[in-house]
Symmetry: C2
Subunit: 187 residues, 2 copies
DNA sequence: GCAGACTTTTGACATCCGTCAAAAAACAAA
DNA sequence: TTTGTTTTTTGACGGATGTCAAAAGTCTGC
């Protein structure tokens, strides 16, 4: 829980009152490797904070799995579309390692944002950062060769390569596993 | 200005007090076709609302221009990275048609969000929607052929094809102009 | 240490798409 | 209309990358 607060205050300071309210809403869960947090078709009702471990979000395209994000320590993860709209998730969330997660329900979160302007602001700022991250990923994928994408990842997120199998990473980068393997061998 | 309020209240209702404060901060500007709103290297200090007209954001990659978004009536546009971080913009914003824009400075906007929790919430909700849009674009670009991307655009944003030259659209889709032309001929 | 499962690499081949160059078409201005 | 400019199309070609298939490597549990 301390880790959660430490991370939250990097977005925006939190008063004691808000801190207590947050503490009352978040709950801790332990998950085993390969557990599914959310399966496609379910509604994702919770937002998760990763204290320990890692997971991935993936969807099915034709008969393949496409991993479109990884979550590690100090990341917030959820099926964002499902969580914000209440519609069934198109993606699956799977534990890549055993993990300790803190989570809050959509209703509790909205109540918190309603009560504490400072938390609404914190979330607004967090969204800004997450948006920038996604935008950067988008720009870095368009018009880049397989080799360039791999090198970019190696620079910007080497931990992904250390903790995720190549097959997942390949689809994350938008290339085939075979191409990624060859690119990697060449460098 | 009425159009701006009408659009804002689609995200979240606005009280009279907030409405007056917003009205005091936004200003109207008219721009001519091909005007540059922001050039790469400048800091983008304002957020723009498009009342009439259209524009595009693009950046340079090697010796090409890559258009990475279009803005039309009722869109908010800015160089998001520069606007939120205060760093020089990597992108250029150019008018594709003469336009009527309403804009607010970063300082005024932050003051508004500080004073009115409801506006902070409105922005938080707007960010959610913009994030989902970007995410969808991202997913729709990865692992899709040129033809699929074009068809997707034809379904989801035909107005882009009606108002932007093919060259801009091609880079927006992440393909070459020649390929887009061929794809288009085949359908 | 061995069997079975999963992951990564290697090879052969086809194809989509980018590039370069030129023609055609559309548009604008005089 | 005529002329010049910009945009779009067409053609020829090569290369990067996907696909299929099999081999090699790694990991796990008994």
């Amino acid at each position: 829980m301390e880790q959660l607060f430490a991370h939250l205050s990097r977005y925006h300071p939190i008063s004691d009152a808000a801190r207590q309210a947050v503490a009352a809403c978040f709950r801790e869960d332990v998950h085993a490797k390969n557990d599914m947090l959310i399966t496609q078709g379910q509604v994702c009702r919770r937002l998760y904070f990763v204290e320990k471990g890692c997971l991935r979000g993936y969807y099915h395209l034709e008969d393949k799995e496409v991993t479109h994000w990884f979550g590690f320590e100090r990341d917030f993860v959820t099926s964002f579309h499902s969580f914000t709209t209440g519609q069934p998730s198109v993606e699956n969330i799977q534990l890549m390692e055993g993990a300790v997660l803190w989570s809050v329900s959509r209703e509790d979160l909205l109540r918190l944002l309603d009560t504490f302007h400072e938390l609404e602001r914190l979330v607004r700022i967090a969204y800004e950062k997450y948006y920038l991250r996604l935008e950067e990923r988008y720009v870095n994928s368009q018009f880049r060769t397989a080799a360039e994408r791999y090198e970019q990842l190696l620079e910007q997120a080497p931990h992904i390569l250390e903790r995720a199998p190549l097959g997942y990473v390949a689809s994350y980068l938008g290339i085939s596993q075979e191409t990624l393997s060859r690119v990697r061998g060449r460098i």
